[in-house]
């Protein structure tokens, strides 16, 4: 069986998201790098895979997908077993809660974090000055989100319930980079959130993707 292909460098959070899912299900996959320095992401070949000129793109035979959480859903559904059912297919109530918390990650958690990352890391790399006002606002937004997470994780082991799901895994990539910034201290006030993150970061699939990300940066 031909391995599936993931287009894009693992350093990108959206690519890392897909790789975590592939690792969790134990699928055979190949990473194809897309070189942003030579604008490969805007090449006709890549636009045919991802019309927005972004990464990741994903290929399984004739099927070409983009949008990392859509790809993640496909991977987790295709390779689902009784033991590894991270979308909780077969249980309408559980899969609805996975959908809720995946959207919370995508639309509440991730934007607050990536805004801080953009100001603190990307803007200086592009020769600009971080906007401390935006950083402050984003950290406040994140705090409000973490208040909710702390309460939720006090009642349940994981976000959608007492079972691990894509909703939890999807938090890994952005959090990984956030923890390297001084603003990571915002997590100090949230003990259950920290435990939940430690649990996630201890998973072999996540450790594997972390090692790929580390190699990518040093390479």
């Amino acid at each position: 069986m031909t391995p599936v292909k993931v287009f894009g460098s693992v350093a990108f959070t959206n690519v890392a998201r897909v790789l975590v899912c592939l690792e969790e299900v134990g699928a055979d996959y190949e990473i194809v790098d897309i070189d942003f320095h030579v604008k490969e992401h805007k090449s006709p070949e890549h636009l045919a895979r991802n019309p927005f000129g972004q990464v990741p793109a994903f290929q399984d035979g004739d099927l070409m997908l983009f949008q990392s959480r859509a790809i993640s859903r496909y991977v987790l559904s295709k390779y689902r077993t009784d033991e590894v059912n991270l979308l909780r297919e077969g249980s309408p109530e559980e899969s609805a809660l996975v959908d809720v918390w995946l959207d919370v990650e995508a639309l509440q958690y991730d934007p607050a974090m990536s805004s801080v990352f953009f100001q603190h890391r990307v803007v200086p790399a592009l020769g600009g000055m971080p906007d401390e006002g935006i950083i402050g606002e984003s950290v406040e937004k994140l705090r409000k989100v973490l208040d909710v997470y702390e309460a939720r994780l006090t009642k349940h082991r994981y976000l959608a319930g007492d079972f691990l799901s894509l909703a939890d895994l999807s938090h890994f990539p952005e959090t990984y980079y956030f923890m390297e910034m001084p603003y990571a201290a915002v997590f100090d006030s949230y003990p259950r959130v920290r435990e939940w993150l430690e649990d996630l970061f201890a998973r072999p699939a996540i450790k594997k993707v972390v090692s790929l990300m580390a190699k990518d940066f040093s390479g």
């Binding site: 983009f66 859509a70 559904s77 959908d99 959207d103």
Partner: protein, 222 residues
């Protein structure tokens, strides 16, 4: 079985996204109106349903859901799974792709236009015209992708209507009430797709509760 309850104000595009799916599914539901200006969503009673203090919220028996697309998926999975293509892995993947395109590529562009052009004048704030202009430029590039897609398939996920199409309706409804509608209409396949959506009975019904000024003009402030 008790009908599902949907909490919120019907003019909200997030609320309307769910209402369209309820209507498509033909599901029994009760709309529990809430007052935005009255701050109902910040009251403890509502925070117990949705700790993020937002609407819509769906109660279906013991299950309480929020995040409009998650609610939409639940309703369709239960009552009209063909709109998710749940039985076909490749087709459901395409539905998921274009639902996320709405969430991450389109809505973030049209939302600030709607907010600045329609809402701000009523709330006494100045329209950020630079932001609107920037958004319109981004929109044109994004619409090129939609136009190319809709030139090769009747609907976004394929030749079948799905949540991917329905999810777009509510924000577009307001955008198309602004002077920038012509930007969308310049793309013939996007225009035809939009008109097909408007022709759906579910969309017509929900649109009746969505005055183009969000109710501000008539004094029915949400």
């Amino acid at each position: 079985m008790a009908p599902m309850k949907l909490y919120g104000w019907a003019v909200s595009p997030w609320m309307a996204r769910v209402l369209v799916c309820l209507e498509e599914a033909g599901a029994e539901y009760e709309l529990v109106p809430m007052s935005r200006s009255g701050g109902d969503h910040r009251q403890p009673e509502h925070l117990a349903r949705n700790p993020f203090g937002e609407i819509p919220v769906l109660e279906d028996g013991d299950l309480t859901l929020y995040q409009s697309r998650a609610i939409a998926r639940h309703i369709l999975r239960k009552y009209k799974p063909e709109l998710l293509r749940s039985d076909n892995l490749q087709e459901s993947a395409m539905v998921d792709v274009w639902v996320d395109v709405d969430a991450h590529q389109l809505e973030p562009i049209i939302r600030p236009v709607v907010f600045n052009v329609i809402i701000k004048p009523f709330t006494g704030s100045d329209c950020d015209q630079d932001l609107v202009d920037e958004s319109i430029e981004k929109l044109k590039k994004t619409l090129e992708v939609y136009e190319a897609r809709l030139s090769t398939s009747k609907y976004l996920a394929g030749d079948f209507v799905s949540l991917a199409d329905l999810t777009h309706f509510s924000f577009m409804r307001y955008f198309m009430a602004t002077q920038y509608a012509e930007v969308v209409e310049a793309y013939p396949h996007v225009k035809a797709w939009w008109e097909a959506l408007l022709a759906r009975p579910s969309v017509k019904k929900v649109m009746a509760g969505m005055p183009p000024d969000f109710g501000f003009g008539s004094g029915n402030i949400p």
